[in-house]
């Protein structure tokens, strides 16, 4: 076998010099993700006292720590769901070409560029007890006392919706644009009204994309930290799991405990994503075009 032939055979399996282009990315992932992740696992297994799983045992034994999982899920799941569900009708309406589409998209996407802190600031000013929103409600005589929308569950929820919606919207819009428009036309000529066209043609083709979008916005929402403190109730109803990890590591200097909380957080995310992607696997996930064309 000559060396040339060997090179050809390797190239046929995708092994050639271009593989080196993956180098920088692989290095990046290894240095900034794989190494810290393994380091975190190692730290979590070396608590100051007790066996290797003592940090996990104490996390799950203490209701104050354990309940952060439910608290975070209780914020992140509805927020992610709302982001996805709200994106669908807006993106559906905007899937074609029309005048002003770019302006409208920009307006919808601008919140991405605002940091969490700026959003929190705005929420406090707008929705706080003396903010415009409550002043308008009071002025119109709709309520007797200011509605409490900050420093509680709703503050964090709204903040997650404001920052998470643009992501969900952009993703859903691109999934929708990938569905062949002639399919809906065919549905219309065959006698389907808009609701039947949406639920029987568009939605089944869009559903896998919605599942993926849900996973991404869920992960964003699940790791909420700044807004849980700034517009939330960080010692009570919005004591999310990232706060538990932060307190363990930097308030109590219990690095193993902090690392354990972080690993638990990652595992919960994996379970939710695994479930959603498992359900996604039951859907039709093939081509979204109507044939050759």
């Amino acid at each position: 076998m000559t060396p040339v032939a060997l090179r050809h055979r390797l190239a046929e399996r995708g092994i050639d010099a271009r593989l080196l282009l993956l180098g920088p990315a692989a290095l990046f992932v290894a240095a900034l993700f794989i190494y810290p992740f393994c380091y975190g696992i190692a730290v979590s297994l070396q608590p100051a006292e007790g066996g290797p799983f003592a940090a996990y045992q104490s996390f799950f034994a203490d209701a104050y720590q354990r309940d952060t999982i439910a608290t975070t899920l209780w914020i992140a799941l509805p927020a992610a769901l709302l982001n996805v569900l709200a994106s669908v009708p807006i993106a559906y309406r905007m899937r074609g070409r029309f005048r002003g589409k770019r302006v409208l998209t920009t307006v919808l996407v601008v919140p991405i560029t605002l940091g969490t802190v700026l959003t929190a600031e705005g929420l406090l000013n707008f929705l706080g007890p003396t903010g415009w929103f409550n002043r308008v409600l009071l002025g119109l005589g709709l309520v007797d006392a200011p509605v409490s929308l900050t420093h509680n569950y709703w503050g964090v929820f709204l903040s997650l919706v404001i920052t998470g919606f643009p992501f969900a919207f952009l993703l859903v819009l691109s999934y929708l644009s990938g569905i062949d428009p002639s399919l809906e036309k065919a549905g219309a000529v065959l006698g389907a009204g808009w609701a039947q066209r949406f639920f029987r043609i568009t939605l089944p083709l869009l559903a896998p994309g919605l599942a993926t979008t849900f996973c991404l916005t869920f992960v964003l929402a699940f790791s909420v930290f700044p807004s849980a403190i700034l517009v939330g109730d960080p010692s009570g109803t919005t004591r999310v799991i990232s706060i538990a990890a932060y307190e363990a590591a930097y308030v109590r200097y219990d690095y193993a405990g902090g690392a354990a909380a972080a690993i638990v957080m990652g595992l919960v995310e994996l379970v939710v994503i695994g479930l959603v992607l498992g359900l996604r696997g039951l859907l039709y996930t093939g081509s979204t075009s109507g044939g050759k064309g």
């Binding site: 062949d180 036309k185 039709y284 075009s289 044939g291």
Partner: protein
């Protein structure tokens, strides 16, 4: 199967569609009788697909109206027109099996379940897809997808079937088979069909009547034979295979014929429109209507330049002494640089006025 919604004729009355100031379709008047196979024919951009989409209700009209007997259709959304349509890319629902694709229109019409089953099975048999009924469209070949699209359109027994270049994605052999298949279905199911194509051979072989369009305007409406033998203007002639279009000057009228001169040729032909003596005209003749002279001195002397083998015949490009290029077909084996004499059949030579007839022959 019989035609579901009975009707006698479908009438298009001045149907027009503008896109941003440009006429994609200008004033299409057409009456379609029940059972007819009508083809809209023309080069790309001529407005034929626009006309079909207007008819289907997928494009609103800018002006004009569409009537089925006394019912006005153009104000109805597509789902209420009761037509069937075969799309150029088939537009099969990729997440539904062949059976479900075909059943879709029946389900939308709230047909009883057992009836849906029966008619779907019948349609699947009709297009010979029994063994593929539970496959997804992505698992089928192009020709099979095409047949699903046709079955899906005809199973609802539509008053009108619209077909938008349905054969353009198939290979040549399959195209011929499906051509016969579509014509057979049209006849056996008693369909009324409006078919769009840019392929003149397809149009001639399938249709009862042709509507030739150019730049959004109707150029000619007639039977395949009328359009084939007497195209209404030089653009249609060009499109219908009159490959030899010679710029000439009209000499004198000779009875029903007309004598023209140009490029060193002195020819007799039949006038179409009103070529006037002394004015420029276009003489058009098909390659197969130019024959090689039987006796020396009978025809025009030419030199063979290019010969293309085409089975029983060859297609040759020849040049006259004055440099005019002619295309002809002959069974004789020719070779480049051969010197031959050719005769242009006066009965098949058409003479069109060369005037600016961009607006169609009968505006």
């Amino acid at each position: 199967m019989t035609t579901g919604s009975r009707f006698d004729r479908l009438r298009l009355d001045g149907v027009s569609r503008r896109f941003g100031g440009a006429d994609a379709l200008a004033g299409l008047d057409l009456t379609i009788e029940r059972g007819e196979f009508i083809t809209l024919l023309g080069p790309s951009g001529c407005g034929k697909s626009t006309a079909l989409n207007c008819l289907a209700g997928l494009l609103p009209l800018t002006r004009g109206s569409i009537w089925r007997d006394e019912t006005r259709l153009d104000t109805l959304p597509p789902e209420q027109r009761g037509f069937g349509m075969v799309f150029q890319n088939y537009a099969l629902f990729p997440h539904m099996s062949v059976r479900k694709n075909i059943a879709f229109g029946l389900q939308m019409r709230k047909v009883a379940r057992a009836e849906v089953r029966r008619r779907t099975d019948e349609a699947i048999r009709l297009v010979h897809l029994e063994s593929h009924a539970d496959k997804l469209p992505g698992q089928l070949s192009g020709g099979q997808q095409q047949r699903v699209a046709i079955a899906r359109a005809v199973v609802v027994e539509p008053s009108l079937v619209l077909m938008d270049e349905p054969l353009s994605n198939l290979d040549a052999k399959l195209r011929l088979e499906m051509r016969t298949e579509i014509r057979r279905l049209h006849q056996s199911l008693g369909l009324t069909t409006v078919y769009v194509t840019h392929d003149q051979e397809e149009a001639l072989s399938m249709s009862d009547r042709l509507v030739v369009l150019r730049a959004g305007r109707v150029q000619q409406i007639g039977t395949p034979e009328q359009v084939h033998t007497r195209p209404a203007n030089r653009h249609i002639a060009d499109f219908m295979g009159f490959r030899n279009l010679l710029p000439v000057r009209v000499g004198e009228m000779a009875g029903a014929g007309v004598i023209v001169d140009g490029g060193g040729l002195h020819l007799t032909g039949s006038p179409v429109g009103e070529p006037r003596p002394g004015e420029p005209a276009v003489a058009a003749i098909r390659p197969e209507d130019i024959r090689i002279a039987a006796h020396p001195g009978e025809g025009v002397e030419v030199t063979v330049e290019v010969v293309e083998y085409q089975g029983r015949e060859v297609s040759a490009e020849v040049r006259t002494g004055d440099g005019t290029l002619l295309h002809l077909r002959t069974a004789r084996r020719l070779a480049p640089k051969d010197r031959i004499e050719v005769v242009l059949d006066p009965g098949r030579l058409l003479v069109f006025p060369a005037g600016p007839d961009e607006q169609g022959s009968e505006p």
